[in-house]
Symmetry: C2
Subunit: 587 residues, 2 copies
């Protein structure tokens, strides 16, 4: 290989002004560490400058994404940030979007938005450049700044207002084509996140209006994650809690052993309180949830909804909305108006006769026996209640609850476990949602116009920076995976400006690492060893080499990996190969 | 070298939908060709999507800039697009900027702008991260989207509203340091524009408030350029017309040979008309320009200004403003009010006695003799006028005029020539303009705060795309310099899907070029040769190789450079090395 020219990356250029303390507004560890390492600087609420060390991480993330998108056959373009309102009016999102869509006016009083996403623009491009079935399939992507005017920006890069995303949009002739394009993107995402060196999990996501397995989220696993991820320990099944399926219970309902009794439960309203008061397990209680359908007028049939749940189960609002439609929870006064009893004492007995109430129950409720429920009378509950003896089973049974650890996996294989994750990617089968509104069609083999089938595929570039840190840190600081570290290797010469031997060895090692394509930085700041080491531990560069006169006397340098507890002495002549092999193994 | 994985770049992915006709709103050749080649797509006035082929050019430009900026010791960061108004209020630019500054409000009704430039943000960063003289000098740069709400966006990427720029900002301890940083950037720019493969010229620019040689523009030479560039054929002197110095005439004034006469010139107002009417050369006439100082109230001394010019010379407004201050041209009624005579018949005789008129003359006027001027009386002029005989020489003599071809170079070496250029870069010594308003200081060796000396250095990334095309095109289309071409080489197989020999040869050639780092695209579209060739000539890829059965029978392929008039047959086995050498020679 020919000798390349190189630029010495010097720590003194990078403004390593590591802080002992994080700012008060930093609530999570990634935000704290990014501010402490000077990777980002806040300029306004949810608006940051990416400082040189932080931008290097972002560029590495972008380059991995770009390589894998190209490899998957996607083609890069760049859509503008400021987009004409007209396109957003065509799809109705100009009206539908809330205040997080930043609407602006230009000097001629024309309406524009600053892009939070680009479905409209890419659909406009597609309907203009794609004429024939012969041009399909195609997948366009761009890596671009976006803006969402979050009401309460927080968590540093995790929920900022200005951020960077990769968005890809596929166009296909039919649903089969869309499914293929979707699978190609899914596979590319697995490669991308694997290359990032992050522990991640793709999970089935709620896919809104489209049925089937039309949407997956990619999560970086982290205890601090906002989302609960459900997965089977024995199979591939994985879903966001919102979308995770709870199977109907396989066990039969136990026979009744107790008689129904009305008991006084003064002031005991929550299921927990009632079962504690009666010294019974929470799972023996029946929870009654009153809801109002927002798509049906008050007084109309179906407006007032009651859902029966097992006391220890939580309602899954996303699944619930799919079953009953748009809803909100009923207020206390609405509950009293419809049921004549305050919340906390509600029960199912008698509700089956009410024409004006839509009664539903979760699957798990159907196998309860000898259960406790409200008596529809203040301060009173029933115990020993049994279906079909004391009241009929509700007719409308469905999956209303969040799954819990140990539930059977819906694919029949093993049981479910739950972990937390940070959503950093999303693949989605859009179908004709946008092509229909914007009339994006192509001519098929018969010369007939057909709507294009679209998919969209996002990765939160700047969000990944935060998520990577949430997953990889310790009390010393960040621990970067090698592929996205700001630098792969740091050289810490002790006395770079004092000892000729140290300088010569450091410079030669720098050059041989650089020639082998290693991304290395020289700490030329002349700081004390303790400061140097703790700075680089805080910054999280994965490999550190110390060059000092003491070691050089024995012909040795010190190597320490960021996760190592102590340094290893390596002969000077072997160090380059040693580190090159380490980096290669990790990328 | 180890064998690399590669992705086949296929023409079919790039939506080569070349158009015969350019859209009506495209006024200049670069705009027409970019639209015709599908490199850009208009989404709104001055707002474009960069399609895949166009984005490749932009990325190549960005990468060359990035490499040379890093090499020059600058450090990349990224400042946000949406910037808080507060910073712009600190420097007064929130108020001073016109409507091209897009001001926006967020959901909490707070003021922001979409960045047209980033002096405020970088100065804010600098005052926060730079504490000590030991941290200086430093040069930060970013490559970022910008927005200027132009009143009348036009010329495609040449004057769009959303565009990409590289901006660097240097911070120094003192003026000497600033001058060094400035020179480093100047040299880096020369390298960058040389690597682009463009004919360019750095010229001294008007540097507003700062004296000395504190500002240079970098222009791409093109006949269609908006700017006139002045340069000496015999020296390094070069300046924008706005800033080019006209030396005082070295010749003595010729002696008077004619007597002064008042002649009737009915209806002859412009100097051209008067001299034509009198059958004299234009250079024998004296032009009288009446102006109003806008910084002096009406009625105050100095408010009304008269400038005397040689009839064939043009007033240079930038130089004029430096001499007399902010001004505008006087209206006809203002002229009549002050001089009692309509424009067209004005002359200097008698004006020297007027206390209420500030009288100036350009140097060239002082050596005129036997000249023609207005008689300050409708339809009347004087001929044979001579200084010091008929009227005194004005006291205030200065350089008011645009230089003309053949003028002596102000450095005393040779004569001046003029060519046209497109401004694509600007380096500027800001001094303490921003550090003073924003109190960006560092502590010197004595612990005393000192203001940082700043420089700023811009390159219009997307503008270069347009400028490169303006400079390099013919009636077939664009002719890209190799270093910024969307692809360096295009393979045109004739019958890629029909002939196994053609496909095999094309694929192997593709791979061996790719392995050598050549940026090559395969035209897999199956178009007829004529269509294929004219498409690639329009797109302007610099090297084309045709693979056909007819040539293969003789073991030959056809090579044609974009500027070549005919193709050359090259043995199959030699082609890769032949093209690799061509590309290497051009980069």
């Amino acid at each position: 290989m020919s000798r390349k020219e190189f630029t010495l990356m010097r720590a003194s250029q990078f403004f390593i002004s590591t802080l002992k303390e994080a700012p008060a507004d930093a609530e999570i560890i990634s935000h704290k560490l990014m501010v402490r390492t000077g990777m980002i600087r806040r300029l306004g609420s949810g608006i940051y400058a990416y400082m040189p060390m932080g931008l290097r991480v972002i560029h590495k993330i972008e380059n991995i994404i770009r390589e894998e998108m190209n490899r998957a056959g996607a083609v890069e373009l760049l859509m503008p940030l400021v987009q004409p309102a007209e396109l957003w009016q065509e799809t109705g999102r100009w009206q539908k979007y809330g205040p997080e869509l930043l609407r602006i006016k230009d000097r001629h009083d024309r309406d524009f938005i600053i892009q939070p996403t680009s479905e409209e623009v890419i659909t406009d491009i597609a309907r203009n450049v794609i004429k024939s079935y012969r041009q399909l399939p195609i997948n366009f992507y761009h890596i671009q700044t976006k803006f969402r005017d979050e009401r309460r920006p927080r968590f540093g890069l995790m929920r900022g207002r200005e951020f960077t995303m990769k968005d890809a949009y596929s166009f296909d002739r039919d649903v089969d084509g869309l499914k293929k394009s979707y699978q190609i993107m899914f596979d590319a995402y697995v490669k991308i996140f694997t290359r990032f060196g992050l522990k991640f999990r793709p999970v089935a996501a709620d896919n809104g209006a489209i049925g089937g397995s039309g949407s997956h989220e990619f999560h970086v696993i982290a205890e601090t994650g906002e989302d609960a991820l459900v997965y089977s320990r024995e199979s591939e099944y994985a879903a966001n809690m919102e979308a995770a399926i709870a199977l109907p219970p396989s066990a039969e309902r136990a026979a009744a052993t107790r008689s129904m009794q009305k008991v006084a439960t003064p002031g005991q309203k929550a299921c927990e309180d009632v079962t504690n008061f009666l010294n019974q397990p929470l799972s023996q209680s029946l929870k009654v949830i009153a809801a109002i359908r927002t798509d049906i007028a008050a007084g109309e049939k179906g407006h007032f909804v009651v859902i029966l749940m097992r006391g220890d189960h939580d309602l899954n609002e996303v699944k619930t909305q799919k079953i009953i439609g748009e809803f909100r929870f009923a207020s206390e006064s609405e509950i009293i108006h419809h049921l004549g009893c305050p919340a906390g004492y509600l029960g199912p007995i008698g509700l089956e006769k009410r024409e004006d109430i839509a009664l539903y129950a979760d699957h798990a409720v159907t196998v309860m026996s000898d259960f406790i429920c409200g008596a529809n009378e203040k301060d009173m509950h029933f115990t020993g209640v049994n279906w079909e003896r004391d009241l009929p089973l509700p007719e409308n049974i469905a999956d209303f609850r969040n799954v819990v650890e140990g539930d059977p996996s819906p694919d029949g294989k093993g049981t479910l476990a739950i972990q937390r994750g940070i959503e950093v990617g999303h693949v989605f089968q859009l179908g004709t949602r946008y092509s229909e509104d914007m009339n994006a069609s192509y001519l098929d083999e018969n010369g007939k116009p057909q709507l294009m089938q679209m998919g969209c595929y996002g990765i939160g570039v700047t969000r990944i920076v935060g998520a990577a840190i949430e997953q990889n840190n310790d009390d010393k600081g960040i621990i970067w995976p090698t592929s996205i570290a700001p630098f792969e290797v740091v050289l810490c010469p002790l006395g770079y400006d004092r000892s000729e031997a140290v300088k010569k060895t450091a410079d030669e090692l720098y050059e041989s690492l650089k020639q082998s394509g290693i991304d290395v930085i020289m700490d030329d700041r002349g700081e004390r060893p303790g400061v140097m080491f703790s700075d680089w531990e805080l910054i999280g560069v994965p490999h550190r080499i110390v060059i000092g006169d003491r070691g050089l006397k024995d012909g040795k340098l010190e190597y320490q990996g960021r996760r190592d507890t102590e340094a290893t002495a390596i002969p000077v002549g072997d160090m380059a190969q040693f580190v090159i092999a380490k980096v290669a193994a990790e990328k």
